[in-house]
Subunit: 488 residues, 2 copies
């Protein structure tokens, strides 16, 4: 069978690729580093978008849209930002092609006066726009988000985890005061953590980044970090307090309540199709994708097992009653009664695609008024009375959602340790643990640890340690107990 999944313990990386491919989530395109998101993968992303969009609107944000292109000179304006972003990017230099004896070539007469950068992130173009929108404190706050594609010319790409073009949302807000902007950036990292928990069934650690790992142009970067099944960390979302860096770079001032001019305070925050990678690696097993019910394109698949048309007619009729009930409850389903594929093929297919609940029903079930239910998370099968199945499904969808979260939470707890000895630290890091350890606060130490162990500081947890301790490498007294791990 061509859809064989490589087991995790044999080759974790190949396991991931196999799932992305065989569950038909995404594939590489003819354009280097750019992916095609296939319908099944995109349907999951749409569910994520919808849930996040509701949460953004509930917290007072609106959507808007800003240009794909950014004039090169805009990047020059914020010193740290340009170092971080204006390097590996797609540069538009011409605006016309021409036909040269049957060959299409770039028209050298159509060179742009100033090159345009395909946005790697939109702080610069947005703050250039906010300058026109903000005069007074009455114009604040501005609480906007955009759903967009962005491009970063990554050299080593992996589907969903790191691609040249990816889809994301980027929130960009403008505030009267420093405190309000900090509150906003904290609010949004908590929105992300809530989304990760409630929709993705994925526990995360909330913290701040070290200077080294901070967003280029930010004063503080809040992040959520999740643990994948191989023990590596995956940064799943970030929210930045940008201070007045961009308002100063783009000269965005406002008259405050006292009538004095001040620079506007800013935040930005984003999550991307990278979350698809996080979702896959949080729950899936050697049989394929496993989806939390809230993000499954369809939560229930129903497969008839029949010989001949007559039996199918009986089953169709019975299933139709159930479908009406599922519909009325808002439970999404797929009834796969195609005769082009055998039940065995269908069982494997929907297991591969991570459908939370599989129902199968045959002639004997009709006679006995029963139906078989299989859970994707535990792979348990059980026969139920037909009448009770709809309530059972409602209950189980919640249970599966919770169960997946609890499995992940347990894994994260079991694989997080504290170390005070560097040899122990190194060994734990290489075995795929999250390691809590004291760090002396210097970039030098951070780099040394990375060099020796490949671990980076994933975050400085928001819940601070109450006691001081010795830095894991220099032994200096420090108040920062931070989380080290290898990461995606």
């Amino acid at each position: 069978m061509s859809k064989k999944i490589t087991p995790r313990n044999k080759d974790y990386s190949q396991w991931y690729n196999d799932i992305v491919q065989h569950a038909e989530l995404a594939e590489s395109s003819g354009v280097r580093g750019c992916m095609v998101i296939k319908p099944y993968g995109f349907a999951i992303w749409e569910k994520m978008q919808q849930a996040l969009d509701v949460m953004f609107k509930e917290t007072g944000h609106s959507n808007a849209y800003f240009p794909l292109f950014i004039p090169k000179s805009y990047f020059n304006k914020e010193a740290a930002h340009v170092e971080g972003f204006a390097k590996e990017c797609a540069v538009v230099t011409h605006y016309r092609l021409k036909n040269d004896n049957g060959n299409i070539i770039v028209d050298s007469n159509a060179k742009l006066e100033e090159e345009l950068i395909v946005r790697p992130t939109s702080e610069t173009i947005i703050w250039d726009t906010y300058r026109k929108w903000i005069q007074s404190y009455r114009d604040l706050p501005i609480l906007l988000n955009q759903w967009a594609n962005v491009v970063r010319w990554e050299m080593r790409t992996r589907l969903f985890l790191r691609t040249a073009e990816f889809l994301w949302q980027e929130g960009h807000t403008a505030h009267e005061t420093k405190d309000e902007a900090i509150e906003e950036s904290k609010l949004m990292i908590n929105v992300y953590a809530k989304f990760a928990k409630e929709f993705m069934s994925m526990p995360v650690i909330i913290g701040t980044k070290t200077e080294n790992e901070r967003f280029a142009g930010a004063i503080e970067t809040y992040c959520i970090e999740a643990m994948m099944q191989d023990g590596k960390a995956l940064q799943a979302g970030t929210s930045h307090f940008l201070g007045q860096n961009f308002s100063k770079a783009f000269d965005v001032k406002f008259a405050n309540k006292q009538g004095k001019l001040d620079y506007v305070w800013a935040t930005s925050w984003g999550v991307s199709t990278r979350l698809m990678g996080a979702l896959i690696m949080s729950h899936s097993d050697d049989k394929g994708l496993v989806l939390p019910p809230k993000l499954a394109p369809f939560q229930v698949v129903i497969i008839p097992i029949y010989k001949g048309k007559e039996e199918l007619v009986l089953i169709d009729e019975k299933v139709n009653d159930l479908i009406q009930e599922l519909k009325s409850k808002g439970i999404s389903y797929k009834y796969d009664n195609r005769d082009t594929h055998k039940p065995g093929w269908k069982f494997a297919e929907y297991e591969l695609k991570g459908v939370p609940i599989r129902l199968s029903i045959g002639k004997r079930d009709i006679d006995n008024d029963t139906i078989e239910l299989a859970r994707r998370d535990t792979l348990e099968k059980k026969i139920y009375k037909f009448d009770s199945i709809s309530n059972e499904i409602t209950r189980l969808l919640d249970e599966i959602q919770d169960n997946l979260y609890n499995i992940n939470l347990k894994r994260m707890k079991d694989n997080t340790v504290e170390c005070v000895d560097f040899d122990d630290f190194s060994s734990k890091i290489s075995s795929g643990f999250f390691v809590k350890a004291y760090w002396d606060g210097t970039t030098e130490t951070e780099n040394k640890i990375k060099e020796k162990t490949k671990a980076t500081i994933r975050c400085i947890p928001l819940e601070k340690s109450k006691v001081m301790g010795k830095c894991i490498i220099t032994g200096k007294q420090s108040k920062d107990k931070v989380i080290f791990a290898k990461s995606y």
Copy 2:
């Protein structure tokens, strides 16, 4: 007041620009030809997207996502397509910038081997992908759509109507047979017509394009054409039967039911943020935007009229009951009780923004248990008993939606004439009519008419004329009675 709208009869074009600006729908950006879609404008676009997306899914389509960039060579593969699209486009030639003594410059060492074109439309990259997905008739049909940004390097741009970057959806389907593909392209033009009627309150004429106006690479282009208030036509959506042009260009074959290899049949179809321009020009008046209730970001605005906090408290309380009722009915609303702006300012503001229903309530209303309602479409005001207002709103929202459609339908009928004489034809065209006339079917005649009158053939209506007639310019007998008009 700075938000003055230029009257239509004084300067129609300025009227349009004033509405886009003052209703805060969109604005030009620092990037030539690219617009910023502001939150209020984007909220309308989101309503359009949601309604269309439901209609696409109801007709069996799924969403997916394909790369922003298309290798230059892909455009070479379909002869007609390259002529139409690979000309004015954004060309990415480099993938890195570097710091040159504090200046950011393009790194000449980072030149792409093959230039990438920012998609002007995605047929080429999608059919390059479909080749990998389609082997047998069992893989068909493929019914996909993507919501995306596209770029066409337009020289003269106008907000929403013609911009270098715009947002759209593009459906791309693959079929076993010619008939099925033709059915699909007709189905989707009818979906667009239904959307225009039911959501935009905008009547359209469905027809096909002449060879001259056809999509580059299509066998047949179906279109919907709407009449704006100045009598000009606006092409609001197109659906293309692409035959086997793209499957041949990208070598996409399938084994049919008889086991023989054949090329796949294709369609593509799209609508864009241009619909925002159509919406604005269909309904708005000299006081500002007028929105059909189904696309309004909020359908009802409530404005308290009060002196002092005490009165406001009373009004707040009363309004709160109404808000609960509106919520339960799914009617969107905004209660603007800000004390930073006067009622008169608010009245003008929401009139400008086209909110379908405005309610105002003051101390005297509280005493009398009344509330005032103003309709945006007719500008009528009336006082209602407070108890009856919620039902009245429900009824009126439907009535406004219908009324706007009927006004447009009447305008279209009143301003569509048939001509048999060329002088009459010219005079009607220059007065802003849609003119039905016979045409001899040649591009030569079409071009001659365009040269003399600036009118183009907007479409060949699907409802064919039953009798022959004489071509308006050459006098040749013809069966094609077509629609001429000046257009956007």
